[in-house]
Amino acid sequence: MFSILRINTANKEVKKESRSTNDYLLGGRTLSSRLVSREVPADCEPLGKKNALFFCNGPLSGTTVSSSDRISVGGKSPLTGGIKESNAGGIVGIRMSQHGLRCISLEGAPARDAAWQIIVIGKDGVEFMEGDFLAGKGVYEKSELLSEKFGNKAGCMTVGPAAEKLLYTSGIACSDPHGVCSRYAGRGGLGAVMASKRVIAVVIQNDGDVKAEFADADAFKAGAKRIVQLLRENPVSSKFTKYGTAAMVDICQSFKVLPTRNFTHGTMEGAEKINAQTMYDTIKERGGEGLTQHACMNPCAIQCSNVYPDKYGKLLCSPVEYETMALMGSNLCLKNLDTIATMNRIANDAGVDTLDCGAAIGVAMEAGLADFGDNDAAIQMMEEIRNLTPLGRILASGCKIAAQVLGVRHAPHVLGQGVPAYEPRGSKGMAVTYLSSTMGADHTFGFTLRDEDDPTSKEGKVELSKKFQVIGSRMDAMGMCNFVRYSVRDDMKPLLDLIKARYDVDISEEEFDAMVVETLKMEHQFNADAGIPASAHRFAETFYEETQPETGEVVDITDEEIARAMQW
């Protein structure tokens, strides 16, 4: 049996329910998206009381299986107006499992002027604590105060000042293994949804005493070792260990899909100044607290995260990821890793998504508010966000709204969510994925780039995108890190064997994929019921009209092709 802890934020009623169905077994996105589909009225206001937030861990959470402790956060997105699943690493998933929880839901909403509350979940029950003392503070300070009060082993989730003002790019910051709230469920504005319920933090105490049980402990132990072996033997996974996702800078530059100058180019002269090797060398050279290899959760055999130090060796930002390096780097023609790390730190402190804010600053630069390549101006714009100035609030509303306010047509988004770090005109597979995703422009599933014979041709890309929408969704479907997929993409059996060894439940690969597809169908249905029209699944017209200089390509994907990509 799997437990969901339902917390009504309006009347403070708490209920614990038990379920035994396979969606509760799998947890992750499988469960979060189904709960949103079943329980949130699709046409509700995302920041109203009818929306709900669901935090779900996966079937291997709380065990020794590498990279299995991510949490999926689900709800209706204020940014896209559709369903949203955003996931994060850290220690929240494992704390949930130590309390015997597969899901925590935040439901209802108190009056808009109600006091801020901290919801504390411990072995003696759920407590609502006064949270006004956290209000207005940055995420790093909130994180320190939460650690002081609850210890740095507590699993905390908090939001930044941008969420307190209900801004659409605000995320939910989750405790990392050091107790710092730096692991973001960043996309889609779910931080604003949490804040709309006047919840400023959720704390899961480190006093859970539920131990993982196994139907076949020996088989489970052997299966967990097998996953580590697969990760270590896989030459691709091992590359993440040294360079992390930053390795994508060089790859995207070579493929001419590195977003540059507000997505008007696919390469940046001087990209090597912000590539993985430069980052690796800088971290090594500066030493101190810098780490080229770091785990966002334990256990993890990949350890793709990093700690980027300032010139004195003190932690500046952790992690700095490729998507941020592109959206807050090349997209703004910035060639300075210190600038990117500083912007990333400010974003983490304000509690906003680095991709959406990077995309919005690109739009602002195109509008002439600053020059591309101006490091100081870019940092200042992030300060505007942190300080919640009028411009900062516009930028923290995402690039679609920023473009509308600032008079820019070339706004890189789908459904209001900023385009991730792969120029869609240079990769038609990624273009199909962005356009057909239920989440708005999203790169975490349907990642075709590495498997496209000819990235600039749209031939066969609907099928390729759909294939990888399933493959890419498998890890999210069960709360695993996405980078495990390299080791199991041709054979899910090692993970399904672990489910069998833990729960004595047989799920075949076909049944598992059928559940993944069923989840996608439910997500599409939710968006249709929410009133999102087919015509919203388009880029700005400029992407169809203006060629990307390096490839000579425009987006040539038709509405009919996208309809096919959304048909399951």
Binding site: N234, P235, V236, K239, F240, K242, Y243, T245, A247, M248, D250, I251, S254, F255, K256, A276, Q277, C304, E321, Y322, E323, A326, P420, A421, Y422, H443, T444, F447, L449, R450, E452, D453, D454, P455, N482, F483, Y486, E550
Partner: protein, 72 residues
């Protein structure tokens, strides 16, 4: 001679002698043996264009080889 530039690895650049045009997979295998590395899934780029394992490479070609990873 075909120049294979193993990016994001310690192997660096490797030059492989070929007597006639050959498939990339074949040349890459030789280069990996020379460099003493295991390549795994890879992405290959020649003159700014993506090429696949069955693409024919010729004397004088320079090919960037990347590990086939993705962002996050």
């Amino acid at each position: 001679m075909v120049r294979l530039c193993f990016r994001l690895t310690e192997a660096g650049n490797v030059e492989v002698e070929i007597s006639e045009p050959q498939k990339l997979d074949v040349v890459l295998h030789k280069g990996a043996v020379q460099a003493g590395i295991e390549v795994g899934d890879y992405l290959a780029v020649r003159d700014g264009n993506v090429i696949k394992g069955d693409s024919v490479v010729r004397e004088g070609d320079t090919i960037d080889i990347f590990p086939a990873i993705s962002g996050g």
